[in-house]
Symmetry: C2
Subunit: 325 residues, 2 copies
């Protein structure tokens, strides 16, 4: 079967996911196809419209992206063939985008010139505004961004209305369409260029080491992409991570029993998330990430999977990949 | 110290959290104070402005509310005294609110009368529209609601733009302010009355057993509320749940080692969430819920906490409460 050389990613153009997709696959000569939601990326890969997908899975400040984990755990059985085949990290550098007040107005309001506010030696949070932002009445951004810029928002924009958007790119678009100039968006530098907005403040995120981790997904048994760096095989089994989703039997102690299997095989767990299983309320699927590789026959991961089969209701293999960090 | 008899809850008036707060404390004669965000509820309790707080913690379809878990885990050390003292469950029943198209227009578009569409015997998802909704161009709702109404949205409103809002009440407000009548909100029945909107479809959530669980929070050592049903002590230790947040040492196997402590004391884990610890990227806090009670001196929970202290970096006690389900 001839699958088009397309990579589906969470769009629109200019998102952090777009950058991550370019980082991973630009050298391969793939076409890049923006999708409106994470689910659409999974659909494109499952239905052979794209050969690879790129989706956000975790942010170093805000934690896991549950929508991605749920689609991987595949509660509704829509994506039986999809596995993770790689990961990419990308720096998040949020900016406040909008339009500055007229110079006279801003000087009157702030009582000092904009340049003074921009003094690099001034105390205060990272990303002190370049100009007065007292005219800003409404903020747009993706919900994840609020939590990444708490200090900046609490210091400079306390009490300003916040409107959630589906992406930081969409936030910039809505800001650009407000002719009063009293809206601002927390968005990326590239969104400022795309939507013709001013950069009112740069690098306003809480931590300078704010990174997002993206998963590269494919169909199990899809053709390999030997030139894509994040998909190359090298190193020992400790250089790999694996992912499974499991549902435990409905009896006391069943989760601890399942987790004990990993300990019995000296497998190091790195993350556990508890998600609704979708079968009944308060019945859960556990999405578990751990160090190790399934490729080696008879290895500890294979033995653990066999043992897990004896103690859990169901276990779904979700792939293994080379660690990038 | 005289703390006002106020209960802070995630507002605005008419939210599901408001209903949960009334269910828990209405008989006590408390005053109910809406807060704009979950964090504000924690602030009100920590700063003795309210004696109790009510916040959403989990939905049976969408899973845990991470903002609440993070505030409890208290990464930034702002809420050292806050513990969970009870839980309340509340049925979520989403409606599609908006304005119907003019009768003639809707009949022309749908090719049949609105009454036919409302046939209770018609096949299709729960909450089939009462009237034609083909004129709807934009949807507002809280991000959690999209995931709870997937089947309805995929069937009747595929491709319609979705705008995230901070609450389902806010979604109704934005819909009411759109004079074109082409917006709709996924919101509650009570929001229809508050904002003067029509109920275009009722009970559109995926599952009829869609429930949200709320935590009742207080300051440790705050005066008891002996009349509040969810705070009463009764039953055995298996009728209680406890919550801790722990950070593990930075070495392989440390998470499994910590979880093994629970198994060693026959404690049944019910939920584990992995959250960023806030100290360094990719360093985690694990929020763990389990069956048991701390009140009994020398009990298994006390012994487990002592043993945990030997293997983890830090453990924070977050309260125990009587199970309501």
């Amino acid at each position: 079967m001839n699958i088009p050389n397309k990579v589906a990613y969470l769009g629109p153009v200019g998102t952090y996911t777009h950058q991550a997709a370019l980082n991973a696959y630009e050298e391969e000569g793939f076409q890049f196809e923006p999708q409106v939601e994470i689910k659409s990326v999974f659909d494109a890969v499952q239905n052979d419209i794209a050969i690879r997908g790129v989706v956000p899975v975790e942010n170093s400040t805000n934690g896991a992206v549950m929508a991605t984990l749920d689609l991987l755990a595949d509660i509704q059985g829509r994506y039986p063939d999809i596995v993770v085949c790689g990961e990419v990290y990308f720096d998040v550098r949020h900016c406040l985008l909008g339009r500055s007040a007229t110079r006279t107005e801003s000087e009157w309001t702030s009582g000092r010139s904009p340049q003074t506010v921009n003094d690099p030696n001034a105390a205060g949070p990272k990303g002190t505004p370049r100009v007065s932002i007292k005219h800003i009445k409404r903020l747009y951004s993706h919900p994840q961004a609020w939590g990444q810029c708490t200090l900046f928002l609490d210091t400079f924009l306390t009490g300003v209305e916040r409107v959630d958007t589906t992406s930081t790119s969409r936030a910039a678009e809505l800001t650009a369409s407000d002719s009063t100039g009293t809206s601002a968006a927390i968005s990326s530098l590239s969104a400022a260029h795309v939507h013709g907005l001013e950069i009112l403040a740069e690098g306003i995120q809480e931590k300078n080491d704010n990174k997002t981790r993206f998963f590269l997904i494919k169909k199990q048994n899809a053709q390999p992409s030997p030139f894509a760096r994040p998909e190359q095989s090298h190193g020992t089994k400790d250089d790999y991570k694996s992912l499974v989703a499991l549902t435990v039997r409905d009896r006391p102690g069943s989760l601890v029993e399942a987790l004990a299997v990993f300990r019995d095989h000296d497998i190091n767990l790195t993350s556990i998330q508890t998600r609704p299983s979708g079968t009944a309320p308060w019945n859960y699927t556990f999405v578990i990430e751990f160090v190790g590789l399934r490729a080696v026959q008879g290895g500890s991961v294979n033995r653990a999977l066999a043992d897990l089969g004896d103690v859990v209701e169901h276990v779904k293999w979700l792939g293994c990949w080379h660690k990038e960090s």
